[in-house]
Subunit: 300 residues, 4 copies
Amino acid sequence: MEEFARSDLATECGGDREGDGIRVRKSECGGCRLLHVQVRSEAAAARIGKPQGSYVTLECGEIRMLSDSEFDRVRCALSVEIREMAERMCGKRIGGQFSVLVCGLGNGDITADAIGPETVRRLAVTRHLRRMDHALFSTVGLCEISALTPGVLGQTGLETVELVKGAVKAAAPDLVIAVDALAARSVERLSTTVQLSDTGIHPGSGIGNRRKALNAETVGVPVMALGVPTVVDSSTLVFDALHRAGYEPQDFSAELRKTLEEGRSFFVSPKEIDLLVSSVAVLLSGALEKAFAVREGEFS
Amino acid sequence: MEEFARSDLATECGGDREGDGIRVRKSECGGCRLLHVQVRSEAAAARIGKPQGSYVTLECGEIRMLSDSEFDRVRCALSVEIREMAERMCGKRIGGQFSVLVCGLGNGDITADAIGPETVRRLAVTRHLRRMDHALFSTVGLCEISALTPGVLGQTGLETVELVKGAVKAAAPDLVIAVDALAARSVERLSTTVQLSDTGIHPGSGIGNRRKALNAETVGVPVMALGVPTVVDSSTLVFDALHRAGYEPQDFSAELRKTLEEGRSFFVSPKEIDLLVSSVAVLLSGALEKAFAVREGEFS
Amino acid sequence: MEEFARSDLATECGGDREGDGIRVRKSECGGCRLLHVQVRSEAAAARIGKPQGSYVTLECGEIRMLSDSEFDRVRCALSVEIREMAERMCGKRIGGQFSVLVCGLGNGDITADAIGPETVRRLAVTRHLRRMDHALFSTVGLCEISALTPGVLGQTGLETVELVKGAVKAAAPDLVIAVDALAARSVERLSTTVQLSDTGIHPGSGIGNRRKALNAETVGVPVMALGVPTVVDSSTLVFDALHRAGYEPQDFSAELRKTLEEGRSFFVSPKEIDLLVSSVAVLLSGALEKAFAVREGEFS
Amino acid sequence: MEEFARSDLATECGGDREGDGIRVRKSECGGCRLLHVQVRSEAAAARIGKPQGSYVTLECGEIRMLSDSEFDRVRCALSVEIREMAERMCGKRIGGQFSVLVCGLGNGDITADAIGPETVRRLAVTRHLRRMDHALFSTVGLCEISALTPGVLGQTGLETVELVKGAVKAAAPDLVIAVDALAARSVERLSTTVQLSDTGIHPGSGIGNRRKALNAETVGVPVMALGVPTVVDSSTLVFDALHRAGYEPQDFSAELRKTLEEGRSFFVSPKEIDLLVSSVAVLLSGALEKAFAVREGEFS
């Protein structure tokens, strides 16, 4: 019945505990709890249902409730993690020769799924400016930032991965960062946790279940995934409530299984999802700009 | 535990069965099943948890899946019901002397709560035109339509009812129609049912739990409520699943009760909520324009 | 032909020069040039075509090109001016007993006219929180902020002033601040100047020519106008070009007059109006929050 | 000085008169005046400043003022022209084997530039459905429709043509249709004329001056351009006014030339641009759906 306990967070899938093939390092930074998880074997990957690779979880409390100064510290901590993971993934220092393509995945018309599009909307792109004034970029060491909002299959009739491939061909970036709304298993996680990963996006992630993988293999350059949970699958919610009520999967009636199955077309989100998404997008775009700018605020 | 089985639909609260103080009439029109319910005594009102008055339910199948011709039939059927209820509530024929104020309740920044604002956005208002060309209106018998999108408390710091009162003072309408997204008890109801009622909006309705009543008493003119369910409270979903699993309220642990209580800050909506809301808004604005126009399409 | 040389800025209408009934004081603050103009007689008001009262112009360079630190200085300078004018208008210190209603005028669906709605969208309102936790507000001295986006006549069928009156009745504020996009006479003014005034909004202001006055007389409490020019009337543009070409109004043919007359249905805006409006809204909402908050950032 | 008399409409550039290398055919359909222009020689192309090819102009009166039945006739007339041009360009009948990619060019955040993005937002795409149910498509003869909103350089840092190439690779369409807001020379043209062309988009078209050509040569498949004028360059407006005042280009002072030059960063649009763009997008998306659907309304 694990299919009804879906989470896009490695840490909710057992990735928070050291074990065979799983390395966990905990730390603190900027008032956040940080969890660095490495999934190092196929067996471990299968066990937690996530691809091999690095996962960083940053727990910062409800993002929209942070004070200005707390928000700033979280933004800095996140930008450091993005920068380190980016340099490690590309084997290259962030600087005037670095180019990154940010892809805002998800459906901008659905509030809970709009983290990606809203982050891109707030992001200052620089790639076209570099073409105009190459010297400036070299001097200040500013990266080339480009961005794409590919939309979803129902809006375009096109697979996201195909559109990202087109943009990769156009921008020739060192790195793609796929920003996405995530599904958590527990409502406490909603907008309190940021997850980064060097694994890209795999099928079944996201709210609308992105259908094709978005990773180095499919798009040709390394893909970092950056996301914040904004929803819980409604089946997961019900399944967990039943579980807590002491009701075991093996006792589920056929009717209940059917209900759970149908529940996968529905998602649970908080009543203040509009404010939540808006503050998450400010955080993510701010952290991205800081991670890829040598001098902060120059182009924001 | 009835507080965890919330529904804004009279028909889901026992209003679909004849009984003491409850009259039910069923019919068909335009391919829809129609249910006319009258709640006629305080006892009946208390039993179903809804104020005394008339409730019309129009079941039409998933609105966004209707073909063009089916959609048109539903729009006509709905416009007839709106018109009849409006004339009954105001004791006056719809025509050149009739004035209606449509209020789009809810938070337009949250997709599932945007039925009201989106309906108003698509509605052609005419009140200001009448001032310019009074003769035209009298001749063709067109009503005066005005509209308000009052926003929600968290956006304005103001109670909706106060803003509606201001608009009522300005427009001096015969009737207010409050368009709102509703909460259903069952996911099957989502975007398949339209409810009209002559009771106005009462506290606890809507997604964000509108806090003050919007009715003849509070705003000074009759208030019709027009809505379509787009969400299920997440507590209701869990409660019903437990119920179906044979788990009885009296057996609920304190922890489970707490979970249910917290669940009231969350709502469940379908993954295609964007398309659903958009087609509902087209239907409601179209039906309203048809109900209050003598010659269709003149101002749309 | 002065009707073709329209400007909502007092400083473009002769308000920048001392004269009979006009007092001008120049200063600098936060890197901005400040101009305090007082129009003190009916004759002077008629001469410059603006009501008697105080006008403050803050020239800060193109708002969207300011660096982060420049932006911050401008925001501070503006908040000081807002605060001083508010206290003078109300004869009362800003503090825990002060209540302000911010009205975002204009049509949010037209980019150049969206300054008001966009500013309100970014503004953190507090009035409803005060009701919940009165002690907090008294202790920290935070003002009660409420907000309204009344829309335009073509969207609601209702006069803006009537809706504002309704909100004033509901919020009982000490002061209304009407935020609006302005028309300038010269394109150099666009998004480089902020104007405050204690005169409210008078007919003929704004992009769509608001038709009724919004001032203490019509809404019952003092009305501050706060705006930034985003458009030039196309007739004004043509008239000025003709003038610069040495072509005098008395030489205008009937056809040319007709062209100018028709030109009043059109407006001129910069090609980057989207970025411009967005940075102006960030500036105005930030300055408003700072002006009416004792401790910055507490609620933003 | 022709650079100050810019128009994206062939018919405003001399394309409305028969001449050496220019063939003009006039007709009527659905209450519209139709103009079919063929530019057949390099000399003629140079003379009118537009590439060789076919241009169809459909004059229908102000689109947002059409009654429902007039609107329907215009939509039909336009769909016929789109269909004929598409079949001619691809040498292939529209039917179950036809695939079209619609690209909504322009900046959706600027009302006057949003024709492309708004049209795509209202368009029902079908390509992904075909993959699911191939039989249905073959039987009813429905085309494969996909869509892209590539954004503008300032939003993405990427050239539009590169993103379109990526989508072309993904969708392998027979035809690309680039929908765009156009610049007219005269305000009378705004939202009263639709232009189709088999030449694609050439540099200097559109509001923000798209910088690279979008045609068969650059994207690999034929590109139809479909657009409606929504703006006039402010330089063009001033230049024409001066011209009508009898003021000749050779008399222009250096200062006036500078003013005109600067005026190219500004555009003129009607005060009701929001309603205008919305009705144009309904028209274009409706005509496209009709042109590429065998049975109308099936998927809309």
